[in-house]
Amino acid sequence: MVKHPMSVELEQAIITRRGTQLLGPIDLSLSGTGFTIVLGPNGAGKTSLLKVLHGVTRLSSGRVRWSVPDKEAREAQAYVFQKPIMLRRSVRQNLAFPLQLLNFPKAEIAERVTHWSGRIGLEDALNRPATRLSGGEQQKLALARALIREPQVLFLDEPCANLDGRSTLEIEKLLLAASTAGTRIIMTTHDLGQARRLASDVVFLLNGKVREQATAQDFFSAQQTEEAQAFLNGDIIE
């Protein structure tokens, strides 16, 4: 499944909207493997950063550079959005959708759909409209829909925000397994416990800029900036 690790670089990345700069300038390089957690207070620009890396938001200036050709890079990635986007279809069709786009054979699609609906505990909901699922169920479905393509790079924007404790642990196991198997994961979370459990390295954002980038060990034991310290103590409001 994984051919070779993909890495990405941001060069002087800036996003401007209506004259104000919401992100950047950012220079950042994420190497080929590992589990990167992006931390930062609300409105720091975490979502914007992930979307830029993935390519759904365009930069106002600067560049994103993947280590493989753009087309290949895009095909190898999947993204779970902060607000789950549900197709107005059944749960089954939501799961099947990414595979249908890739023209998978029907039998293979059916098999994977069964497998993944089981893993998120929605096997009984396959024929229900996805838009009618509960908040947590939608989040799990979005996650399964991203994983069903077996991506090499996975972006997760607060994937456990609406999940109960047990589901959160299940998902974490799943993610750690995927990461170990070579999937590059870039994820945001507000749950610092979760960040500690999962991160191999951390990017700390503040006001649209990278304030700190370090291995998880370094970050959680010895933050270099005052802001990161304050954040971990719950003192930063903006």
Binding site: V56, R74, A78, F81, I85, L87, P129, T131
Partner: protein, 234 residues
């Protein structure tokens, strides 16, 4: 007021006796309008959707133009189609003038901008909702358009029905390119215009009510079908 009442009675009589002339022109009305609807939808639904998802330089201009084309005067469309299909026009050799095909062509031109505009408007919201997901999944343009049309099909119903309504009630263009020839190109609207010209308001109204009944029937049928398809909102 008496005339209106007499018209309703005339409509009843026409329908109950299944007047063969009436049946013929009613079926022709349906045939022409539904054909035009199918062709126009095949053009306008993808076009409107495409306009909703594409950002290009003159997008706003294009959309304003499309909206303006909803105001294409049928008589002018009729004239232009006439000139094109006339024996001395560029497509004269096809011999299409004064045939139902010519009428369908004219109606397609008239209703395509209407359907495309409504489609565009309906699809903008759905696109805003789906945008990030469809971009993220690396879809092709074609896949995006198809996904939006499929999942927005209920809202597109109004677009199609508006097109059908415009087509079935239209008279100016099809009068010119169809010629209102008895037994060949006469449809309900041209027959109504004819009877109005004769001052036979009772018959004109009668035919008019038949036409309205037809429109109601088609709408109920389509609503019933789209309802059985699946209950509830998605």
């Amino acid at each position: 007021m008496n005339e209106i009442w007499a018209g309703i009675q005339a409509a009843f009589r026409l329908i109950v006796t299944l007047d063969p002339d009436l049946v013929q022109i009613t079926l022709r009305s349906l045939q022409v309008s539904l054909s035009a609807l199918v062709i126009a939808s095949a053009i306008a639904l993808p076009l409107g959707t495409w306009l909703a998802i594409r950002r290009f330089r003159f997008r706003r201009l294009t959309i304003a133009t499309l909206n303006a084309l909803m105001g294409l005067p049928p008589v002018v469309v009729g004239l232009i189609v006439y000139l094109l299909l006339s024996r001395s026009g560029p497509f004269g050799v096809l011999g299409l003038l004064f045939t139902p095909t010519a009428m369908i062509i004219a109606q397609v031109i008239i209703i395509t901008p209407l359907i495309a505009s409504i489609t565009h408007q309906a699809m903008r919201e759905l696109w805003a909702e789906y945008h990030d997901l469809l971009i993220s999944l690396n879809t092709t343009k074609r896949q995006r358009i198809w996904t939006l049309i499929r999942d927005g099909r209920r809202t597109l119903l109004t677009a199609a029905l508006a097109g059908f309504g415009r087509a079935i009630g239209e008279v100016g263009a099809i009068m010119i390119v169809g010629g209102n020839i008895d037994n060949a190109t006469r449809v309900l609207t041209t027959a109504i215009a004819l009877e109005t010209g004769k001052g036979d308001f009772t018959l004109a109204l009668g035919l008019g009510f038949v036409l309205i009944a037809l429109a109601l029937l088609v709408n109920f049928a389509i609503h019933a079908l789209s309802r059985t398809e699946r209950e509830g909102r998605w």
